[in-house]
């Protein structure tokens, strides 16, 4: 036990200051101070998932500003979608979107989700989230770095962005 405490003490606080806000984003109505995010992988190569995992770590600490990942779309303010939307994931993605409460804010995360990316044109993909459900925001990148994800989501929770 003392080894754990000592290590925690020596490690200190890892969380970094919030990044500079990026270009203004479409606000998410009714949301203030907390943001429930449901992630759906619609057939990505899994690099975007790696960055999402990195994003939840102590350096970025999204929970400290009220951003948390939830298990059910019914609890979600935001649907965060990765991947070019394979044909086999199309219905599942629609169902998850359908299950959300309004206002159903959707973000396409990564180049593939934005427009199909490198997989665009294949017989097995839809060519991006906008082809399947309405999209409110995009975070491009292959994959997008955690600080870009934070810069976007931070604007959705921050109070200045409201009214």
């Amino acid at each position: 036990m003392h080894k754990i405490l000592l290590k925690i003490f020596r490690t200190g606080t890892l969380t970094e200051p919030l990044p500079e806000p990026g270009p203004p984003v479409k606000p998410c109505p009714l949301v203030r101070g907390s943001l429930a995010v449901r992630h759906v992988d619609a057939g990505s190569c899994n690099a975007c998932e790696l960055e999402l995992h990195a994003f939840t770590q102590a350096f970025y600490a999204p929970e400290s500003i009220g951003i948390r990942f939830v298990a059910s779309p019914r609890h979600a303010d935001v649907l965060l979608v990765t991947g070019p939307v394979t044909l086999a994931m199309k219905d599942a993605l629609r169902a998850a979107h359908e299950a959300m409460p309004d206002p159903r804010y959707v973000i396409a995360l990564g180049d593939c989700a934005c427009n199909g990316g490198i997989f665009r044109g294949s017989y097995a993909v839809s060519g991006g989230v906008p082809e399947v459900i309405p999209v409110d925001g995009q975070i491009p990148g292959c994959p997008p770095e955690p600080k870009r994800i934070l810069a976007y989501l931070e604007q959705l929770v921050s109070a200045e962005n409201k009214d």
Binding site: G43, E49, H53, Q57, T86, A88, A92, F119, S122, A124
Partner: protein, 524 residues
Amino acid sequence: MLNPIEWSSGPDGEIPFGTPFPFSVPFALASPESPGLYLEGVRRIKERGGRLVSLWGSWTSGADPAVLAAFSDAEGLLLYRFRLSADDRSFPSIAFLFPLANRLERAVRDLYGWDPAGLSDQRPWLDHGLWDGPPMVPQDASFQRSPEGADSPQEEYPFVRVEGEGVHEIPVGPIHAGIIEPGHFRFQVVGEKLLRMEERFGFAHKGVRTLFRNRSVSDAARLAGRVSGDSAVAFQTAFSDAVEVATGSPPPRRALWIRSILLERERIANHLGDLGALGNDAGFGFGSVQFGRLKEEFLRTNARIFGHRYLMDTVVPGGVAGDLGRQELALLREECARTKSDVLELKTIYDEHGGLQDRFSGTGWLDPMLAGRWGLGGVAGRASGQMYDLRHSHPVPPYDQVHVPVSISRLGDVSARVQVRFQEVRHSLSFLDSVLEALPEGPFFIQPEETFSPFEGVGWVEGWRGEVLCWVRLGSGGTVLDAHCHDPSWLLWPALEQTVPGNLVADFPLINKSFNLSYSGHDL
């Protein structure tokens, strides 16, 4: 002698293979003329203790449709090319000899419409009934759909059912409750106890193989790096090896050494992430924070020195994309030393934590006898006592000079897979230290020769998860006619199913994480 069937010469009209370099993984090719000879050859491989590595189809304009199967034995890689006859679009199934061929052969049936003769499992695998016929058939081919092809829309996938008093089913996926790739698991349980689990995949199928067609070699290498994002270096290295073999252009020495640095950095970063996630899944958030920190620092160094956090596009056919200066080398070495002492400290904490070890030990047991019978490699295979590691058995430079010991455990449970990861991180860090110190001088890139007629090549690399194989067929002018990327997850997903019975439902996430297999690399 590798195999009694005649080598490389092949029948007329067959696209020739490049020859392996003295320092690349040795391989040999056989083209059995009849189903009987094919089965006879495969049976001999089985009897001699060979392993199945991969199996895939290929059909491009100007070449006969064929099923290719890759096996390995003590001497190297053995490639079988079974050419399908024009009137009978079927190939002999080898699943009765190598059970792991089942899903690979079903995938060939889904993608080409060819029937694996003798395979009793008629269910589709990658096909969800959403494509217009088999998608890999070339446009100009007159195609007769096989009568038993799996192209009709599948309403309900026929899972194997368990019946009895108190048995119920838990369907999970394709969307999981977390940041995970898409796939479906069907559990049969009694109370909290798992009786059986069956996988259903194909949700991440992106049609990657058709996207390879007609790409330039360098563009195709980018695509290879995105087959499975966590194994970008492994796939790009295997793909580059395949192109270099096909074009007969060995990469410069310095490039090989830098590739090994990239491969080991990818391995360490993924293992660190897994060790943290395994702690977290067992309710030990401290592990997640600490290993998350180490991984993030590694990723940031990757971005700073190699230009990409996950090292995508750092390996190219002909060498590597960038060189390392003295300053960078010093920085990388310094990071290795720092990480080593941190990991050692955390290992002690993990080892001494009773609650953590209680969750790890005995959970998700993969029988070493089964692992041996199936010839399983990778982290999961080695944690069940299998001595398979290409860096050890077929070392290419610099692994032939700076040796990496095989990390092994015989326990076969989650704790064994944790221990193997700890060992591999330690060995990789020591390896990096030696390699960074002795990096040879010279160019880091030599443009591969152009091919003027079709040529094939193969690359086989020990990625962080297991053996990654890439096969490529190049046309004239350096374009890719066809390519296949094989992720080790193909062979390890069926093993995961075998570890589940008898465990608690709540332990499945932990077991799954301890394998950490790729959905994208499998579904392709």
